[in-house]
Symmetry: C2
Subunit: 223 residues, 2 copies
């Protein structure tokens, strides 16, 4: 069945990485894949647009189904391959409740991160204000402190002692932030989570190729 799947992806994109991780976890290796360069604007190429009219990566096809939203792809794959590979939605209502709550709170984390990191990308030069950057930095710090508290409490994965769909969906963004200079000393629980999960086989197998070259990034060092 994996031969019937196609993933168009870009290196270092957390949404793309989510799908790569879940395909490993569900033992769906051997899918068709092609890497595109964001730098060369290849996500706006006809090949991507044919599958994802928004011109964004990932673009993912599973049989005849198009699932370009990474959350949608992950939910679909977990539902279609429930008993194959890692069971990512546990039966326990306790774990489920926390798993769902955290995976959807992550939209706020991502919004705050993007708002700060990509301010200059999304806001045209004539509309930029230092006060806005400062406010966005503070918003991200406040948000990160919440997540630091969550992981301090569970002391392992996002929904407790089990690796769940919440980790598949949220970890790539945590890793992204560390790649861009998030301070280990200020966020020890997030750091522990990051260090533990980066050794997980599904994550090691799909680590963003560009990130193997260690380049010092300090975009997030002040957060």
């Amino acid at each position: 069945m994996a031969k019937d799947m196609t993933l168009l992806w870009g290196s270092g994109s957390p949404p793309c990485w989510r799908i790569q991780i879940i395909l490993e976890e569900k033992q769906l290796q051997g899918y068709n894949q092609k890497q595109f360069s964001f730098e060369k604007m290849e996500h706006k190429s006809q090949e991507v647009l044919d599958m994802n009219p928004r011109g964004q990566l990932p673009a993912f096809k599973c049989g005849k189904h198009i699932l370009n939203e990474s959350y949608a792809a992950c939910f679909f794959l977990e539902n279609q391959y429930k008993s194959q590979g890692t069971k990512l939605i546990p039966d326990s209502p306790d774990v489920q409740a926390l798993m769902y709550q955290r995976m959807f709170e992550a939209f706020t984390l991502v919004e705050k991160m993007v708002g700060f990191m990509y301010y200059n990308f999304f806001v045209p030069e004539g509309e930029r204000h230092d006060s806005a950057i400062q406010r966005k930095r503070e918003d991200l710090t406040t948000e990160l402190k919440l997540w630091e508290g969550y992981l301090k409490k569970t002391d392992s994965f996002l929904a407790g002692k089990e690796y769940t769909l919440a980790d598949v969906l949220v970890f790539p963004f945590i890793a992204y932030m560390f790649h861009y200079g998030l301070c280990s000393e200020r966020y020890p629980a997030l750091t522990k989570y990051y260090n533990t999960l980066k050794e997980r086989p599904s994550i090691k197998a799909t680590w963003p190729p560009y990130w193997h070259k260690l380049i010092e990034q300090d975009t997030l060092k002040t957060v």
Copy 2:
């Protein structure tokens, strides 16, 4: 079991409304509830903060589980009460794929809507630019045209001929936009969807109380 649930909500808030709708669909009436006023800033009151430290509505408790993210609450309730009331995640992979894709694309729709409608609320006076408002209006128009196309194609619900979890999650925002003046002539498929769904019992039973008084709103008339 519904007696073991508590919903703190505010009138006219689409995320609150999602939970009210799914509780009707899953025949979980009789839950505890309390309405708070956004105008009076009651969402920052201690009673809300005790359940939702973000100081946001909804705040939802199901037994001992806190599920303040509306998507999380809806997924949890559908999973815990699969065979009670309306089955909202159909078995068909075709329907499931489209349902997941649309419900997660909706985050972009909401982001564009909020970016335009609440520009003055979120951006301090000294940082506002007419060029930004203009761009955000165009972004929302582009986004709405996509959704108009989606509904034109299915000609009924978001994932086809069945009412699914995607409709529970997305309809409240579509209704919200019509309440704030979205033009029926420019979006006939969205209008048909709105007019059909507003007669659905779960939606009629939970219609935002403030909206019963018809007040002319034109915030979105130019979109």
